[in-house]
């Protein structure tokens, strides 16, 4: 077992992998009894790879993303990652800002002026079908639009890694299907290394290049599936259905 001193920032490095998490454990004790979120969790992602992480509720998926983003340090093990931007679980848009200023947040966080940031974001809003809503405040946008703004906001951070935390969990079933198709389309042209945390196995199989199944708490990787299927993918495709079945088996809920 490797026990390294916890580092505040994940180490950056050059190499084949954009993310390398090895033997990471993380325990929380906020007041109550200690909770071990992760127990010797390992995961890798090469540059430009979309890795989906599925697992039961509370298996430390969010903790894993925060480790990758450098928001937490592991108690044990090592986390190495290229710079990563988070897309939080709920859309967490700023309620006082309109769509375009929400999308600009990462640029403003780096000190870019409002005018310049808007100029950068405007073509993206156009591309994401949000142009006519760019002046609408967050509360006036539909769930799907909010997720698109939220995704764009994290994308414009310009980081090589995107950490998506159950991006479509709050959407209704139909909107979720649309958004999955949309995300697949966007990532095809805007290639990033993506860690997609989800509890929706079908979503994982449709979107990802590789699927990592986590165990219940303390979470660790218990199975890994390559999803070498061509895109765009059809949900009814036999190979896809078979992979989905395999993933469900690994989760212990297969038929």
């Amino acid at each position: 077992m490797t026990t390294e001193a916890p580092e505040k920032e994940p180490r950056e490095f050059q190499g084949l992998d954009a993310i390398r998490v090895e033997g990471v454990s993380r325990t929380f004790s906020t007041g109550g009894p200690e909770v071990q979120a992760l127990g010797r969790m390992s995961i890798r992602a090469s540059h430009g790879e979309i890795v989906a992480v599925v697992g039961p509720s509370g298996c430390g998926k969010t903790t894993l993303l925060e480790l990758i983003c450098g928001l937490q340090a592991p108690d044990e093990g090592s986390v190495e990652s290229a710079p990563a931007a988070l897309m939080p679980q709920r859309d967490a848009l700023l309620p006082w800002c309109n769509a375009i200023d929400n999308a600009c947040l990462a640029l403003r966080a780096r000190g870019m002026s409002k005018t310049r940031a808007r100029a950068v974001a405007a073509p993206w809003l156009e591309r994401f079908g949000l142009r006519e809503f760019q002046d609408s405040r967050a509360a006036q946008l539909s769930g799907g639009m909010r997720q698109r703004v939220s995704f764009l906001r994290s994308l414009l951070a310009g980081k090589p890694v995107l950490a998506l935390d159950e991006p479509f969990a709050t959407l209704d079933a139909i909107t979720r299907l649309q958004m999955q198709g949309w995300l697949s389309h966007v990532l095809a042209s805007e290639r990033r290394t993506v860690v997609l945390v989800t509890h929706d196995v079908e979503e994982a199989v449709v979107l990802a290049d590789r699927l990592v199944v986590m165990s219940p708490r303390p979470g660790r990787a218990v199975a890994e599936l390559e999803i070498a299927l061509p895109r765009p993918r059809r949900r009814t495709d036999a190979a896809l259905v078979a992979l989905r079945e395999q993933a469900l088996q690994a989760l212990g809920v297969g038929g």
């Binding site: 925060e66 983003c69 450098g70 928001l71 990563a84 931007a85 988070l86 939080p88 679980q89 709920r90 967490a92 700023l94 309620p95 006082w96 947040l105 990462a106 403003r108 966080a109 780096r110 000190g111 405040r137 967050a138 509360a139 006036q140 539909s142 994290s154 951070a157 980081k159 950490a163």
Partner: protein, 264 residues
């Protein structure tokens, strides 16, 4: 879309309207009736029509004194708001400041203002300085408390997000924490304006040569009770107007605080 969401909260925060006006009219009518049928000596409790008459006949006197008090109140609130924001932001940024300063701020609210006001007048003189200190002392604390509450209620996800965007502490404050705290600042200010008017009275009581509070005392001493009541009406009316003004500012400046109440 949530276009129907604001309906409920807006109806609740709307001016009470005709019901309040009707109740007020009934109460004034009862008061008038009570004095007219001889329930109280008009010298001790003037009837509403006598107060209205005093409001009209003494309008120049009342106005000139109102201007003095209004100036004290508005400047006092400005001082209070400035001090409150400095304290709140300081406490928010520094644990050391929080431990050192916050208990003293709480303690400052335990000081009986009617007792300290004359001492302040002795020290700072009969001018506006002592009044500003007294008004600020009674009205800054609600703003500190509500501002801090607003700063602490920031969505932790947003802070994490900003950190992955490499935002500095100051930019997180500017883009996320400060706007989040703004509704709290305004709530505190609404409480503060009402207390500030009481503070102005206490300050004038401790030593003044003009102002509505001063005029009130003079009128009571001379048994000009109708004039005294007229002064009370103007003071309360002023406090209510400031409160309503801030409610309007709130609607304009922080509309999201109303919108989001219906959802989530």
């Amino acid at each position: 879309m949530s276009s129907t969401a604001p309906a409920t909260p807006r109806a609740r925060t709307a001016p009470p309207g005709w019901r309040a006006a009707l109740l007020l009219a009934i109460l004034i009518g009862l008061w008038e009736l009570y004095v007219d049928i001889g329930g109280a000596d008009p010298l001790i409790l003037p009837a509403p029509h006598a107060v209205a008459k005093a409001l009209y006949e003494d309008r120049t006197l009342l106005w000139s004194n109102f201007v003095v008090t209004a100036q004290e109140v508005l400047l006092g609130i400005a001082v209070a708001a400035l001090a409150a924001l400095v304290f709140a932001f300081g406490i928010h940024f520094s644990q050391t400041l929080r431990r050192a300063v916050y208990p003293l701020l709480v303690a400052s609210q335990a000081v009986p203002v009617p007792m300290i006001a004359p001492v302040l007048v002795l020290w700072l003189g009969f001018g506006i300085k002592a009044k500003l200190v007294v008004i600020a002392l009674v009205s800054f604390f609600p703003i500190v408390v509500t501002t801090l509450a607003g700063l602490e209620a920031v969505d932790p996800e947003l802070i994490k997000l900003m950190r992955t965007f490499d935002a500095s502490r100051l930019r997180i404050f500017r883009h996320v924490e400060l706007p989040s705290a703004l509704p709290g600042v305004l709530t505190g200010a609404k409480i503060a304006v009402v207390v500030a008017v009481i503070g102005a009275y206490l300050a004038e009581l401790a030593g003044a040569s003009s102002g509505l509070g001063y005029l009130f005392q003079q009128s009571v001493a001379q048994i000009l009770t109708a004039r005294a009541y007229a002064a009370v009406m103007i003071m309360s009316g002023f406090a209510i107007s400031l409160f309503c003004l801030l409610t309007l500012v709130e609607r304009r400046a922080v509309p999201w605080a109303y919108e989001s109440r219906g959802e989530r």
